[in-house]
Symmetry: C2
DNA sequence: TTATTACAGAACTCTTTGTTCAATAAAATT
DNA sequence: AATTTTATTGAACAAAGAGTTCTGTAATAA
C-alpha cells in the first residue's frame, strides 16, 4: 500500500475517532472529518464510499486489532477459543479493553453505535458458542442454544457498557467475577 | 386539544411508524413523512421541532399505552409493581407485546433504535428495582445493585429482541420461562 | 527519466432541512 | 349567526450537507 494512502487513511481514522468521542455518529459530517484530517474532499471519497463505510471499516480494524492482541497476550500454542477456563477468555477481553483502545471504549459509551455493537456481537457469537458447553448445566438444557448464546452476548455487552458508563473503576478481574456470577 | 391537531398528529404518527417498519430511522426524511401523512411541510414543523423529537414523542406515547394497558389487564386493586410473583409482571409484559402494538415490535427489530431502547430501559429500571429483592440470593449479595439492575434490564431487552427477530414463535409463557431461567 | 498513482482544491448538482408568509378553512367564542 | 381565534395549506426561500467531476501538482514506482 502506498505510503500516501496509508497516511491519509490513518488521518481520517484519527479524526473520525476523535469526533466519535465528542458527538454521535449521526451528528458528524464529512466536512468536519476532512477539516480535522486536513485532506481534500475528493480524497475522502476516494477512500470511503460514504460515512457509513468509514465506520464499517473502522470497526473491522478495531476488531482485528483486539483479537490479534488477545492472541498474542495469550498462550501461543493454543487457540484462544480452546482455553481451559471460560474465565480466562473473558478476563483477557476485559483486560485488553482497560489497557488501551480508547477508540473502542468511545464507541461503547456513545449512543449511535448499533452498527458497532452489531460487529461486536457478531465477533462474540463464535467465541461464546465454543464456550457454551461449559455453561450447560441441567437447568439450561431446556433452553434453545441460540437463546443461550444471545443471552450471554447481550450480558457481555451490557456488562461492558455498565463498566464504561460508570468510569471503569473496577478491575478487569472484578468485572470478570461480576460477569461470571450473573451467567 | 383541537380535533384538527389530533388528526394531523395521528396522521404523522401513523405515517412515521409505517415507514419505521420499512427502513431505518436515519433513512427516513421529513419529506416522506409529510407525503405519506398527506399534510403540509409547515404543519409538520408546527407539531414537531425535528425528526428526533417526533421519535421521542412517539416513544413516550407508546410507553404510556403499554404501561396503561398492563395496569388495566392486571389486578385493579394492587399496583403493578407490587405483584407477588416476579413472573407475573414479566409475563404480562410479554403477553402485551405479543397481543398488539406492532409499532413497538417494529422499533425492536430495526437497527437505529438506541433512543427507543433508552426510553424502554429507563421505564424498566423502576420496575426491576422493585423486583430486585426477590432475585437477591446469597450469591448475588456481593454484586453492586446497579450492576444487577443493569443486567436484568439488558437481559430483558436481549430476550425480547431474540424473540422478535426469531418471529415470535414461542408463547409469552415460554419466553417468561426462558427469561426467568437465565436471571 | 518516465509513467503511474494519489492528492488538492475548487466548482458544481442534488437532496434535505428548517423557516417564512399570505391565503384559506375549521373551530371556538360571543 | 356573526366574529374571533387557531390550524392548515402551499409555495417559496436560505442554508447545509452529500457526493461528483475536473484540472493541476506532487509523490511514488518502473
Amino acid at each position: 500500500m502506498d505510503r500516501r494512502q496509508r497516511k491519509t487513511r490513518e488521518a481520517i481514522f484519527k479524526a473520525f475517532t476523535e469526533l466519535l468521542s465528542q458527538k454521535d455518529f449521526s451528528q458528524i459530517t464529512v466536512g468536519e472529518i476532512i477539516e480535522r484530517a486536513d485532506i481534500g474532499r475528493a480524497t475522502f471519497y476516494a477512500h470511503f464510499e460514504t460515512k457509513d463505510f468509514l465506520l464499517k471499516e473502522l470497526c473491522e480494524e478495531l476488531f482485528c486489532h483486539l483479537f490479534d492482541s488477545m492472541h498474542k497476550e495469550n498462550n501461543h500454542h493454543r487457540h484462544i477459543f480452546d482455553c481451559d477456563a471460560p474465565s480466562s477468555v473473558f478476563l483477557h477481553l476485559f483486560q485488553h479493553l482497560m489497557k488501551n483502545d480508547n477508540n473502542i471504549l468511545g464507541l461503547f459509551s456513545c449512543r449511535n453505535n448499533e452498527l458497532f455493537l452489531g460487529y461486536f456481537k457478531e465477533s462474540l457469537v463464535q467465541l461464546v458458542q465454543n464456550q457454551i458447553d461449559l455453561f450447560d448445566s441441567e437447568k439450561n438444557k431446556k433452553l434453545p442454544e441460540s437463546f443461550l448464546v444471545n443471552h450471554i452476548v447481550a450480558t457481555l455487552v451490557g456488562t461492558i457498557r455498565w463498566w464504561v458508563d460508570n468510569g471503569m473503576k473496577e478491575s478487569p478481574e472484578t468485572i470478570t467475577e461480576y460477569f461470571l456470577a450473573v451467567i
